[in-house]
């Protein structure tokens, strides 16, 4: 037994690594820059004055999050790519440089172009206001934009605009003419020294252990879950807060599911073919096909407002009520309870239909076995036959369903929590994915994987308890 569990855990390691790779890969494919989101001054509102400050903040934060490292142990990149691309700030400039590189394949020329640009901007920022303040501001906007664009047409257009503005102010043009020529020459040089063949040749870089994936995985195993990109809150804390409501919902709905489904399934199996069985079977099947999000929407629409008459306003509106932790316990408890009735109902009916059908099926299977006939022949009471002999051997679907509780408690029910506005895991998952808050998404993905495997293991152990004939082959 212990050997079996140990083997299962060893087998889980590759699965776990694959899940972590999927999670990590998803976050790498995602557009948008994680560091920029955490900074107070986002990239959109930087100007010439706070540019240096922004860059410093960015570098600091990037080191803090570890995203200035290469992403993986190895990288397979075109030969034209430098190793240091990841460290260029700000992100828009990095993006522009990468795209220029993708077009021309010559990193030295790209680098030189940006250096010339920096030199030009340093000169430009020294110009006195007496040259025409409005013109300077206008030109500065154009030049700042030049840093972020990479398409030939867009750059040409920007040059033309700059040329038009300079025509109006010859004095200013004289001041920057040489530097401007240099900048244009650097761009022309970039185009003329293009080496597209370098883009077609693969090269493998070995990045060592200090990479984003490794650091993240090690941190995860140590229990350090990182911070949410939405507000910088620790991801672990966010999950802990959300977990409470999901667990409450899951446990309540599980309890009612089992409470109703088991007797119903057994009872209708023992009346196989009679009208009770037919009606419950059909009813359960319909219930099983009813989309939860439809029923939940309808319940909220019809029974939580007085829109359709005062009598229909039976349940409180969505959410968990307005009482806080400082309110007395019992009224708060009561309010929460009334708010949970509809969500728990919606969570229960689907599982109930499934469970009862399973229960009926497995009870029927067992009912035809010889030992049941023997039990009847021995003269046992119907109660004893149904529950001690028949039910005991028909609990496999119950166990399988129990295995699903653990992962379900982590992911929660997106539908129910969204419609009833309950701040549980389902809502957290949805929010985090839509906001591309990858640190939180990964943690939930990884925890779900761990829970799925634990649930399956638990189910396997329970199978041996339910039926001692079940043996595990090593």
């Amino acid at each position: 037994m212990f050997l079996y569990i140990a083997k299962r855990i060893v087998l889980f390691v590759p699965t776990f690594l694959m899940v972590s790779l999927v999670a990590f890969g998803l976050s790498q494919c995602s557009p948008g820059d994680p560091v920029d989101r955490l900074l107070i001054n986002s990239e959109n509102d930087i100007n010439w004055e706070n540019k240096k400050q922004y860059e410093r903040d960015y570098r600091y934060k990037a080191r803090d999050l570890g995203v200035d490292r290469p992403p993986f142990y190895l990288s397979l990149l075109p030969r034209a790519y430098p190793d240091t691309l990841q460290q260029i700030v700000p992100p828009d400039r990095r993006r522009a440089m990468r795209k220029l590189l993708d077009q021309y394949g010559n990193w030295d020329a790209v680098h030189q172009y940006m250096e010339t640009y920096d030199g030009f901007m340093a000169h430009f920022s020294q110009l006195p206001d007496s040259l025409g303040k409005d013109d300077l501001i206008n030109l500065q906007r154009h030049f700042l934009h030049l840093e972020h664009i990479y398409k030939v047409a867009a750059i040409q257009y920007e040059w033309e605009e700059i040329g038009k503005d300079l025509e109006k102010n010859p004095e200013l043009e004289q001041q920057i003419a040489t530097e401007l020529l240099e900048l244009k020459a650097a761009y022309a040089n970039l185009q003329s020294t293009a080496r597209p063949s370098d883009l077609m040749i693969p090269s493998i870089r070995v990045n060592g252990l200090d990479n984003q994936y490794h650091n993240w995985l090690v941190a995860f195993l140590k229990g350090d879950f990182g911070v949410s990109l939405q507000n910088g809150q620790p991801a672990g804390q966010k999950i802990k807060d959300a977990l409470w409501w999901t667990v409450v919902l899951s446990l309540l709905s599980m309890f009612f599911t089992f409470l109703i489904a088991i007797p119903l399934g057994v009872y209708s199996a023992n009346r196989y073919g009679q009208w009770f069985d037919r009606i419950t079977s059909a009813g359960l099947f319909m219930l099983y096909s009813l989309p939860t999000f439809w029923i939940a929407t309808m319940l909220v629409m019809f029974f939580t407002t007085s829109q359709f008459g005062e009598w229909a306003n039976i349940f409180p509106s969505v959410g968990l009520g307005n009482m806080t932790a400082s309110d007395p316990f019992w009224p708060r408890f009561w309010q929460r309870l009334t708010h949970l009735i509809l969500p728990v109902f919606c969570l229960t009916y689907g599982g109930l239909a499934f469970m009862a059908r399973q229960m009926r099926g497995s009870t029927l299977d067992v009912k035809r076995q010889d030992f049941i006939r023997t039990a009847w022949a021995k003269g046992l009471s119907p109660h004893q036959v149904h529950w001690r002999h028949n039910f005991r051997n028909a609990v496999f679907p119950l166990i399988t369903m129990m295995a699903g509780i653990l992962p379900a408690a982590i992911t929660g029910s997106v539908v129910i929590e969204l419609i009833f506005n309950i701040p549980g895991m389902g809502l957290l998952v949805l929010d985090s994915i839509l906001a591309k808050d990858w640190p939180v998404v990964y943690i939930i993905l990884m925890l779900t994987a761990v829970m799925t495997i634990l649930g399956n293991l638990m189910a396997d152990i329970l199978y041996t308890w339910a039926d001692p004939r079940v043996k595990f082959d090593l």
Binding site: K99, P202, S289, P291, T411, I433, L434, A449
Partner: protein
């Protein structure tokens, strides 16, 4: 000599082809299925829905099907097809014609004289029973309208098409992957797939290269092109080409002594691990995460992604069936006749394992339709331009009084999902008569 041998093989092949397909089997399944009245009704409703989906343009359209205008007969709905296909043109002054306001000598309107995206600002949020500002009872919004005055009935008819297409095509994708992987795992197990060393090595080399040339080299084009999906297909073509090239090379090189030695591939373990990985990631979460990443998701991308995440059940089913079938005598006979593995798998094993897969497919279609409806309900998925049942239902969440926005689309989802469930149930009883 050689000629005669070929001829004999041909004859044998013919006999094999005729024998194991066993029309009796499907006939018997159909006979069993027909006994189930509910399942038969489910099939009937399904064909009704299919007719609605096929003829959606003739059932809900803002143009008449036939009309007579100033002595001339027009067939606007048909002409619209021609114009969309690029072979026809609207007559002079008719491309932006207001068909509703015209004075016709005679006219045949579709059942619902609105298209799903027609705005009728004078009639926003009208329930089916509210007084509506329409010029004739013929133009009432029978199932009400949403906040922009779009006709709910027209949206429901258009949504039928989307739902059925999503259900069928996403399961086609899932069935393709599932049957392929499940068959490989079940037929070869861990011990029977032997591959030459050179093929393994070349494939290991070609995979990163395929990734490199399809993704890294083309990243600029993929990100900047206005037509992402075309470029994606070209990238896939590159990757396929590289892999194909590697395998051709392997076929040539495997004659060499060291390179030609065989290695045994543990296909079963690999496929089962993959299934375990897929199963430990919650599908909805993966789906949402992928949809957030890809630019401008549309119906087809949703379909493909649903297919990509829901093949595991089919693969497991077919693996189990094949494990059973592989031990049967006729497979041994086929092998004794010298048929190659692919032929045995495709012609003799899979056709006999298809029954149970049909059951999973029926339930899978129900699941896919439900999933897509839920995605649209969340405002993700098919995109805002596409009317789906889920999106109509999501409108109800923002407008609490509009019961008709919740009841009708939800009912449509419910009916469609349940008929596929009933069909699956009927198939289960028909194929496996031990149960029920």
């Amino acid at each position: 000599m050689l000629f005669r041998k070929q001829k004999r093989e041909q004859r044998l092949q013919q006999q094999m082809d005729e024998r194991p397909k066993s029309p009796d089997y499907w006939k018997q399944v159909w006979r069993q299925y027909r006994k189930n009245r509910v399942a038969i009704w489910a099939l009937r409703i399904l064909s009704f829905l299919a007719v609605i989906a096929l003829f959606a343009d003739f059932l809900a359209n803002d143009k008449p099907i036939y009309c007579q205008l100033e002595g001339q007969a027009h067939w606007p709905v048909f002409r619209n097809y021609l114009v969309d296909a690029g072979v026809g043109k609207w007559p002079e002054g008719m491309s932006n014609f207001d068909w509703k306001e015209a004075q016709y000598e005679s006219v045949v309107w579709p059942l619902i004289p609105y298209a799903d995206n027609n705005l009728d600002m004078g009639n926003s949020y009208k329930s089916p029973f509210d007084p509506q500002k329409v010029k004739a009872p013929r133009f009432r919004h029978r199932l009400g309208t949403d906040s922009l005055g779009r006709d709910v009935a027209a949206g429901m008819i258009r949504g039928t098409r989307v739902a059925l297409v999503i259900g069928l095509l996403s399961m086609a994708v899932a069935a393709f992957i599932g049957i392929l992987l499940g068959a490989l795992a079940g037929y070869y197990g861990d011990r029977h797939l032997q591959v030459s060393r050179v093929r393994v090595l070349l494939n290991l080399l070609a995979l990163p290269l395929a990734y490199f040339y399809a993704v890294e080299v083309r990243s600029y084009v993929l990100e900047e092109s206005s037509n992402f999906y075309t470029q994606l297909l070209i990238s896939l073509g590159w990757a396929m080409g590289i892999l194909l090239l590697a395998n051709l090379l392997a076929t040539l090189l495997k004659r060499l002594p060291w390179l030609g030695r065989k290695w045994t591939m543990p296909v079963d373990i690999l496929v089962m691990r993959l299934i375990e990985v897929m199963n430990s990631i919650p599908g909805l979460m993966l789906l949402l995460a992928i949809l957030v990443i890809i630019p401008r998701p549309n119906v087809f991308s949703v379909m493909v992604i649903i297919g990509l995440i829901s093949w595991t059940g089919i693969a497991r089913f077919i693996r189990g069936e094949i494990l059973r079938i592989r031990a049967l005598e006729y497979i041994e006979a086929a092998r004794a006749m010298g048929y190659n593995n692919w032929r045995i798998i495709w012609r003799h094993v899979i056709p006999n394992a298809l029954g149970p897969v049909l059951i999973t497919l029926a339930f899978g279609i129900a699941g896919a339709i439900l999933l897509e409806a839920f995605l649209s309900f969340l405002g993700q998925g098919a995109g805002s331009a596409q009317v789906t049942w889920g999106r109509l239902l999501s409108l109800a969440r923002n407008s609490p009084g509009a019961w008709w926005l919740a009841v009708f689309p939800g009912l449509a989802i419910f009916v469609t999902v349940s008929i596929f469930n009933f069909i699956g149930e009927g198939l289960t009883d028909a194929i496996d008569p031990r149960r029920g």
